[in-house]
Structures are given as structure tokens and as C-alpha cells.
């Protein structure tokens, strides 16, 4: 066959397309695509879960960095051939994914370590996932400016309303705000999922002494710059700052109980069966203890033995409140709408 310019260009284009596409939706049989948040999270996922999984199965784990909304969209777009085999999810998206019938059921037959995870954590994911890690939303304060920190949410509201403290609180643009701040404060003040008046009344009283953070790094900057004395934040993130050398910061789990902010794990339908082996490693007490030690957050296996440092930091599961995520999902839009109208930030 004579090779003319058209043939040459055509062959070149075809080669280029094949080369570019290089990455099939699902990788080879022996490769598992798992997910992780970035930074220290990713390293902890590799060391604590991927490494033992690879050692036991001989398979390879690849780690995709990003966030739950991104991963869920990718699975929704490719339900027959999901590009990811294991998802790390926020509790609200875990419920949405379960309701959308995109995820497989979690059973002890597939996951022996599931037997040691509190049943309520699997129930909260409608049986199609479970929680493996949790933090608590509470009060983080600057010890240089606050000598007598509030013991709970009620004292927090009182102190901020009177001008004793300037507080940094999450804005509504931060995804977990409706749960770990709105629900938690409302619950502490006597409200319910269907009655959030106590929260909005408290916010109206505190409004002159509030600043809002849009992302966790903003909160730290508010405290570091002196713009705020204290605020609503997470235990694990506070301890991470302490471990990085920030000696003026401390955390209090409110006496009414802070909201448990959990991380769920789920397996998309049609994902690799190897995912069960990997998830079982995620629920293993030894692996979880190692993971907790790196991240400063609590983990969910009842047999976990925390290190001495962590045991003093992590609130027990009974000292934190598990928000009713499915109920909150029902009214979440109304809460956001009311927040936008009454608070605006």
C-alpha cells in the first residue's frame, strides 16, 4: 500500500488518540482504585490501608485525590463501569448515594470487621456503607486571649452575645456547616430538626461579635491574627495545629456534646470485588489505630486501642452526638434558605 500524506496523518491521529485515551475507565483486574483526601490523609490512607491490602492480596491500590462530590458524580456518570472502586464520603452524600441505589450493601459476610463497627453507623448509611472515622465539632480557642473558655454551647452563646468573646464560626458556604454547627448548636439550645428557631435566635444575639470562616484555614487565620478569640472548629484539626507547633490553641468538646462529623466508606455497584478486601482493612482495629494516630481523629472499630496521646484527645463515641443525617437532608435546603435570608454569610 502506498503511504500518502493522508494515510500518514490518519495513522498519526489514531495513534495519538489511543495514546491519549491510555487510561481505561476501569484499570486492570488486579488494580483497585481507591479515594483519599489530600495531604496527610492521602499518606495515611496509603500507609494504613493500601499497604496491608496490597500485602494480603498481591493487588495494587491506586489512590485518587479529590472530594466526595467529584467522586460521586464520576460514579453517577459511569454506573455500569465505575472508575472508582472505593469511595470516601461525607455522611449526607453517603445517604444520597445509598438512596440512588448506586452502592452495594455492607454485610459481615463480605466484611468480617464490620461486626465490630457500631450498627448505627451502618444504619446511618442505609446499610450501603459505614463510618470508619469521626471528628467532633466543638470550641477551639486561643489560650492567649481566653483564660476561661466556655464549657459548652450555652456558655458560648452567652459569652459571644455579651461581647466577652469575638467568635469565628463557619459560613453556610462550608458544606458541613448545617450539621456540625447549625444542628449541634440548635440541639444544645433545645431545638429539633423541625424547629431551628433557637439557633437563629442565638445567631441574632451574637451577630455583632461574629466573624465567619469559609474554609478551615480561614478559621486558623482568624485566631492567629487575633481577629477572633475562639470559634467553632474540629478536634482533629485543632490537634494537628498543636502537633505542628502551635502552642496557643486548645479544644473543648462542649458539655452538651459536639456533633460527630463522620467519614463514610462505600463500594459502588459493579466495582471490583477486591474492594471488599480493601474496606475490610479500613475497618481493621490495628489499621484504624494507626490511622487515628496520624490524623488525630477518632475511628469506629470498638476494639481499637488508641495510643496514650490520642486517648487523651479523642472524645469517646458516647461523648459526641450522632446527627440524624437522613432527617437533616430532608430539611437542609430550608435551613440554608433561612440562613441566607437572616444571616447572609
Amino acid at each position: 500500500m502506498k503511504l500518502n500524506r493522508r494515510h500518514f496523518l490518519g495513522a498519526g491521529a489514531a495513534t495519538g488518540l489511543v495514546g491519549l485515551s491510555g487510561l481505561p475507565l476501569r484499570a486492570q483486574e488486579n488494580v483497585l482504585n481507591v479515594t483519599a483526601y489530600g495531604g496527610v490523609w492521602e499518606q495515611a490512607i496509603r500507609d494504613c490501608f493500601v499497604a496491608p491490602f496490597e500485602a494480603k492480596t498481591g493487588a495494587t491500590g491506586t489512590v485518587s485525590l479529590g472530594g466526595p462530590a467529584q467522586w460521586l458524580a464520576q460514579v453517577e456518570a459511569n454506573p455500569e463501569n465505575p472508575p472508582l472502586d472505593v469511595l470516601i464520603m461525607t455522611p449526607d452524600l453517603a445517604v444520597i448515594a445509598a438512596e440512588g441505589d448506586l452502592m452495594d450493601d455492607f454485610t459481615v459476610e463480605n466484611l468480617p470487621n464490620l461486626a465490630d463497627i457500631p450498627q448505627e453507623f451502618t444504619d446511618a448509611c442505609l446499610g450501603k456503607g459505614t463510618y470508619f472515622d469521626y471528628g467532633v465539632g466543638g470550641i477551639t480557642y486561643n489560650k492567649q486571649y481566653v483564660s476561661e473558655p466556655p464549657k459548652g454551647f450555652a456558655e458560648f452563646v452567652e459569652g459571644v452575645s455579651s461581647g466577652k468573646y469575638i467568635a469565628s464560626v463557619p459560613s453556610i458556604s462550608y458544606g458541613p456547616t448545617p450539621v456540625f454547627f447549625l444542628w449541634a448548636l440548635n440541639n444544645a439550645l433545645g431545638g429539633t430538626v423541625d424547629n431551628v428557631d433557637p439557633f437563629f435566635e442565638a445567631m441574632a444575639k451574637m451577630k455583632d461579635n461574629l466573624v465567619f470562616w469559609a474554609g478551615p484555614n480561614d478559621f486558623f487565620n482568624h485566631l492567629a491574627s487575633g481577629e477572633a478569640d475562639l470559634g467553632i472548629y474540629f478536634d482533629g484539626r485543632t490537634w494537628n495545629h498543636v502537633d505542628e507547633g502551635v502552642d496557643w490553641i486548645d479544644f473543648i468538646n462542649p458539655e452538651e456534646g459536639g456533633a460527630m462529623t463522620t467519614v463514610a466508606v462505600q463500594k459502588p455497584k459493579n466495582a471490583s470485588p477486591l474492594a471488599w478486601d480493601y474496606i475490610n482493612e479500613m475497618l481493621d482495629p490495628v489499621n484504624q489505630a494507626k490511622f487515628a494516630d496520624i490524623l488525630n481523629y477518632g475511628v469506629t472499630n470498638k476494639k481499637v486501642q488508641y495510643s496514650e496521646k490520642l486517648a487523651a484527645r479523642v472524645p469517646s463515641m458516647s461523648d459526641a452526638l450522632l446527627p440524624p443525617y437522613a432527617e437533616i437532608a430532608r430539611v437542609r435546603n430550608e435551613w440554608v434558605d433561612r440562613w441566607n435570608r437572616e444571616i447572609g454569610m
Binding site: S21, L23, L25, V40, L65, G66, A77, N78, P83, N240
Partner: protein, 263 residues
Amino acid sequence: MRLTDILLWLFTAAFFVFMLLPILVVVVISFTSAGYAAFPIPGWSLKWFARIFEYQPFIDSLWVSLELAVVATVASCVLGIPAALYLARSRSGWATAITTFLLSPLSMPMIVIGFASLFFLSALGFGVSFLALAIVHTVICLPYVIRTVTAVYRGISPAYEEAAMILGASRLTTFREVTLPLIRPGIAAGCLFSFLTSFDNLPVSYFFGSAQTNTLPVVMLAYMEHQFDPSIAALSTLQLALAVVALVVADRLYGIEKMTVAT
């Protein structure tokens, strides 16, 4: 000096301080010795620049971003230059409609393009892959090439090409020897904007991120959400330096003034 001149000078100075000071703070923080981002810094260190090279996802995603930006820029030129040359001189009503259509990604929220493209390309079988990412990046880079090349080409008299053809040059020779040298500033400007648009893009790349296709902005976002050290400031400083170098090179080769006039 008149009062209005003084006020204008003060306003200009305040404007530049307002624009540049935050960038300067980020640059300074990237040299901090502290383990967290705070200003002023307690001491100087290069460790956060070293951290960039220790954290493998930064390096892997940097390569993906560079490859993607080159592929999207080349593809935008291959598709955009012929389209621009035709549309710039066409008097058809369709030409205006097609131009508007090709420029439409500029006026659409990127997150909508990203989300919609994920489902569309998945339905076509491309899924979450480098090819899918390259296609979407080409869509968002194409308007820059079309816009700049069209603007330059419209400013060139057709007499140059007509003269070449009257003197016996073929269409291809006319394009190579006359048209191409004349539109080169427009191509250069389009390439520069395309490259930087692709390299910095987050909302589109976000939906196509995987272990193999995550771009640098996606990894930076994922890192920043769960890590508090100043390595992101160091990375931003490096990106800033790269952008400045690219602009200086472009200025030396073509002249920034010529390129911006073209747009």
C-alpha cells in the same frame, strides 16, 4: 504637579498596593520556617519548597497539567486557526452564529461545563480519562485562539494575500508565506492564554480527576483542605514565577504590547 495628577498618582499607587500586597504576602509565607501559614513569619526557610518535591502527587499532577496544557493548546490551534481564518472574512449570517457558538464557553460557568461534560463524555464512552480531559480543555481553550486570531486577521488587508496569489503563489504558499507570519502575534497570544487557562483550570479538571489524571490545581485543593502547612504558598510562588517567565519570554519573542493589542 497639579492636584489631579497627585490624586491620580496616589490612586494608581493604592491600586497596585491593593492588587500586589496579597500576592507578596503569599510569597513571603512560602519562605516561612513555621509549620503553619501565618504572617508575619517567625523565620526564613526553604523547606516548603523542598516539600513540594517530596510530595509525589504534586509532581505527578504537575506533569499531567503540563501535558494537558500543551495538548489542549495544540488542539485549540489546529481547530481554532482555520475556523478563525474562515469566520473572520465570511459575510454569512451563519458565520456570526458559529463564532458566537465557538466563543460561548467563555460565558458559561466552568463548573457547569465540567459537570455536563463528565456525563456527556461518559455516555460516549470516554469516561474519566486523559482524552476526556483533553477534549474538555480544548473546548474551553478554543475561544482564546479564535478570538485572538480573528482579531488580528480582521486587521490585515486582504490585499496582501490577493497580491501573493496574483503573483502566482498557491493557496498553501500564500498561507505559509503571507498569512501565517501576519497572524503570528494572534496565534502567540491565543497559545499563551490557552496554556495558562488550561494550566490553572480547576472546575473542569475537578470532575475528571483520577489517580492518573489529577491536575495540579485539583491536587492543591485536595491538599489545602486537609493540610495546613505553607507548601501551597510555596507552590503558588513557583507557579507565579513560571507565569512571569512565560510572559517575559512571550514579550521578548513577540512583544506583550502587540499581543494585547491583537485581542
